[in-house]
């Protein structure tokens, strides 16, 4: 056990030296791996943040029902009564046409234009929350309300949120595919690096095979190299993504100030960072293992 540890420790040391001895080649390899990894990770961060933001925007879907422009107070009150009695309605809010006009005036900065209108163009409206929020139940409720007398139009406000949700789910799929492809690329890059190393160290491999080295002993430094290179690529990817998030947040500060909403990208969690270190490490190890197994058997003294 002690000799095993000592051998591994020594091997780790010499591998590190080997990486450091060819700094330019190693650095470029590591940068390639880092950039390749940072693409899906960056996209993942953006999608994750958008999802969180969309969750804040529409916690629950609502139905908006608009009365006819010439509907009377009594007719509006009748609909109000119906909503109160409906077992499928959780709660609702009446937005009278005058109040809606006032709100529009205040929020849009179009006060002058609105003042110049001959009459109020807005109808009375109800904002309704359903008891059952499944898409089918919501659509059924919307269709029912739309048929009530003097209701001109009823619409489901959750539609855009659902569209966003579907888009985000698609984005996640893209991240997965991209991640898978780039993981494959990492394995391929490592495979090739190790292939070149095995070939340039052909004589050395031959000699140590002759003097009694086991295959495990010969394989070990190459596996360490692949794993170390992968992990270093993971660290580079982490730096790229973290730096990117920092830069974006710095600039979003101004943007969100203008829009008076606080939208900030969240940094990677320690768990994410750990995965970003271990996954490339494992992939690098795997690529090296494939390559070394393939190429060592070709070298026989």
């Amino acid at each position: 056990m002690k000799t095993w540890l000592a051998q591994h420790g020594r091997c780790f040391g010499t591998t590190f030296v080997k990486l450091a001895r060819t700094p330019l080649g190693s650095v470029f390899n590591i940068i390639v791996i880092g950039i390749a990894l940072s693409l899906p990770v960056g996209l993942y961060v953006v999608i994750d943040n958008l999802q969180a933001a969309s969750g804040q925007l529409s916690a629950e879907p609502q139905i908006s029902a608009y009365m006819a422009l010439d509907a009377s107070r009594a007719e509006t009150a009748q609909i109000e009564n119906r909503l109160k009695q409906s077992p499928r309605v959780q709660r609702f809010r009446l937005v009278p046409r005058d109040q809606a006009l006032q709100e529009l005036k205040q929020s849009s900065g179009l006060a002058d234009v609105i003042d110049s209108l001959p009459q109020n163009p807005l109808p009375d409206a109800f904002v309704i929350s359903a008891k059952n929020n499944t898409p089918q139940a919501l659509e059924a409720l919307r269709d029912e309300i739309a048929q009530w007398p003097r209701v001109v139009h009823a619409q489901l406000d959750a539609a855009w949120a659902r569209r966003l949700d579907a888009t985000l789910r698609f984005g996640r799929l893209v991240v997965l595919i991209l991640g898978g492809l780039l993981a494959l690329a990492l394995v391929a890059v490592t495979f090739n690096t190790i292939r070149l190393q095995v070939l340039t160290q052909r004589d050395e491999v031959e000699v140590i095979k002759l003097i009694g080295a086991t295959d495990a002993f010969i394989r070990r430094p190459f596996l360490y190299y692949g794993a170390l290179q992968g992990a270093a690529g993971g660290i580079v990817a982490w730096l790229i993504v973290s730096g990117g998030i920092w830069v974006v947040n710095h600039n979003l500060g101004e943007l969100s100030h203008v829009y008076a909403s606080l939208f900030q990208l969240k940094q990677l969690t320690p768990g994410d960072a750990g995965a970003l270190l271990l996954l490339p490490l494992a992939l690098g190890w795997f690529g090296a293992w494939l390559s070394v197994g393939r190429h060592l058997s070709l070298i026989e003294p």
Partner: protein
């Protein structure tokens, strides 16, 4: 000094003087393509013997050495090294067979990316020696071949004779029971060759089985070993 480097041999229970170190019987080797390299070879080398395998190039010397260390397998026949049948050895057992040998090559096969010390330490690294105990052994081996003062030198800066002696130091550092040399003096001047011959004699005197494949007549007259002569893949005479 020298007995200190080699006590492992005396402690190995299998290397008793009663059992032959190497024993071949009816060994044939035919390479793919049909060339018959070895034809019914049979001989025995006792523990602690000094034996030369001679013959012209193409006589089968190299093939014989390759069979002994498991680089090639015999087509038929049995090769017993230190109680193990090399011909039927599993691939994963071959490295451990090779650790019983100290191999000396005509072209040295040194690694040029590490120092003399690093080259000699290689067999100990492979068999998992502690760095401290290992360093002591490496220096003892370097001292034995007279290269202790060059332990930090890179092999490329050493002369041909020094490189050959470095190769010998690497072969003996792990105290093998058998020293196997392939044309050890092939590229050397007569003076250097005599030095190498004396080294072989001293190893043999402390009980190491020494086998040298060579056609160097000077080395033969110097050491007066037992001679196993090969001619066209067959035994010419068994002395």
């Amino acid at each position: 000094m020298w007995t200190e480097v080699f006590p492992a041999f005396f402690l190995d229970p299998r290397s008793s003087l009663l059992n032959p170190m190497i024993s071949l019987s009816h060994v044939f080797k035919r390479y793919p393509g049909g060339r018959q390299a070895l034809n019914d070879i049979g001989f025995t080398i006792e523990t602690g013997e000094l034996a030369f395998i001679t013959g012209h190039s193409g006589a089968g010397k190299s093939t014989l050495l390759k069979l002994l260390v498991g680089i090639e397998r015999p087509t038929s026949g049995s090769i017993i090294v230190n109680g193990q049948n090399v011909g039927t050895l599993q691939a994963r057992a071959v490295p451990f067979l090779r650790r019983k040998f100290g191999l000396i090559f005509q072209d040295h096969k040194l690694l040029f990316d590490r120092s003399a010390f690093g080259n000699v330490a290689l067999p100990l690294e492979i068999s998992g020696y502690g760095a401290k105990d290992g360093a002591r052994r490496v220096r003892a081996a370097l001292d034995k071949v007279g290269l202790l003062k060059y332990e930090k030198a890179m092999p490329i800066t050493l002369s041909g004779g020094e490189q050959q002696r470095l190769c010998i130091a690497r072969a003996i550092v792990h105290r093998p029971a058998i020293l196997l040399a392939d044309e050890p003096t092939g590229n050397l001047d007569a003076d250097y060759a005599t030095e190498i011959g004396e080294l072989f004699r001293s190893f043999n005197q402390v009980g190491v089985t020494v086998i040298v494949a060579t056609h160097d007549q000077a080395l033969l007259t110097q050491l007066k070993p037992r001679v196993i002569a090969l001619r066209n893949g067959a035994l010419a005479e068994a002395a």
